[in-house]
């Protein structure tokens, strides 16, 4: 156990991206990271199933990406910062992704914010 993270397991609703998560989701995160490359982005936009196949995503990984199931993706071990690439490509803002993690609609989440227009 990393002594710097002692006690973190008692913090509810939190995923710590550590080496176990990184190893588990490496293939998925590599696919998401690849969306920074214009050719890979174009393939995903034009033929997502072919992009999933080329990245050798499992059926469940493909489903989560296809359906933009943000809560499942982050629980699975996707790095938020890799998901952020997917958000940009799909035109989904960070607040909308955060609402997804919380299991809320964007509208419900924005009601909890100080300046809902700042996005």
């Amino acid at each position: 156990m990393n002594p710097q993270l002692k006690g973190i397991e008692t913090l509810a609703g939190t995923h710590v991206f550590d080496l176990a998560a990184s190893a588990k989701a490496l293939r998925l995160n590599r696919f998401l990271h690849g969306l920074t490359v214009p050719e890979q982005r174009a393939l995903f936009k034009g033929d997502p199933e072919a992009a999933f196949e080329r990245a050798r995503l499992t059926a469940e990984e493909s489903r989560m990406v296809r359906e933009l199931d943000w809560a499942a993706l982050i629980a699975y071990g996707a790095s938020f910062f890799c998901l952020e690439k997917l958000g940009r490509v799909k035109g989904v803002s960070n607040p909308e992704m955060v609402a997804g993690f919380r299991g809320e609609s964007l509208e419900a989440f924005l009601k909890t914010r100080n300046v809902p227009g700042a996005r």
Partner: protein, 279 residues
Amino acid sequence: MARIIGGIGTSHVPTIAMAYDRGKRDDPDWAPLFKGYEPVAQWLTARQPDVLVFFYNDHATTFFFDHYSTFTLGVGAEYPIADEGLGPRPVPPLKGHVGLSRHMAESLVNDEFDMAVFQDLPIDHGCHSPLTMFWPPAPDWPGRIVPVAINVLQHPLPTPLRCYKLGQAVRRAVHSYPEDLKVIVVGTGGLSHQLNGTRAGFNNTEWDMKFLDLIDRDPGELTRLTHADYIRLGGTEGAEEIMWLAMRGALSDGAKKIHQNYYLPMTAAMAVALFEEPA
């Protein structure tokens, strides 16, 4: 000799860049953010630094988890603006100070900080989202940078104390460089926010204010906290504010905070603090 004349702590939320690129200066939702950076921009214009040393993090853009370094020093002459999924921002490539960065690599490694180095790679919003607020290109950047990327994404992260000590080693490196250069150190990230789990959207303004006080007055207290403490107090992603400790470690004990701004419009608390070394 080169010397450090001041420091800046700043958030690096990507929407800071978006607000700048879309010209939101007079938009009421964004005006408080722009206003908060104005004194920093004015101070830099008055002091005319040559180089900004940036403690920042990459967001799995340039670097990926197949090989993830703890501390990585940029030693290039030019850094393209990274494509983070929408194409690069419409700002010029960043210019590196090769002489200072090579000297820093040698000094740090001989000082037992075994840095990885990178060159000819793009840099993402972790560095340049706040940069345009206080050092805008007009039309080119006013000076050069030396980027120091820190792993705050994949645990185990460097400890808060290690980040502070890195800053101290960077101070020794800069102050032993023979060329007359005015250098500013910048630490980016934070403040409170969390971007995963049902706790996503967490903020803690009380902690943010305490952090802004301690980073000035008693950074030693901040080095004694664990990552778990930072996560509990400021969220999983808020823990990246350990990069401010590297900035603070590169300043002298006599440096004083002369300006700060805090704005929490949406998901991440956006703060900026300016530190000045005694003349």
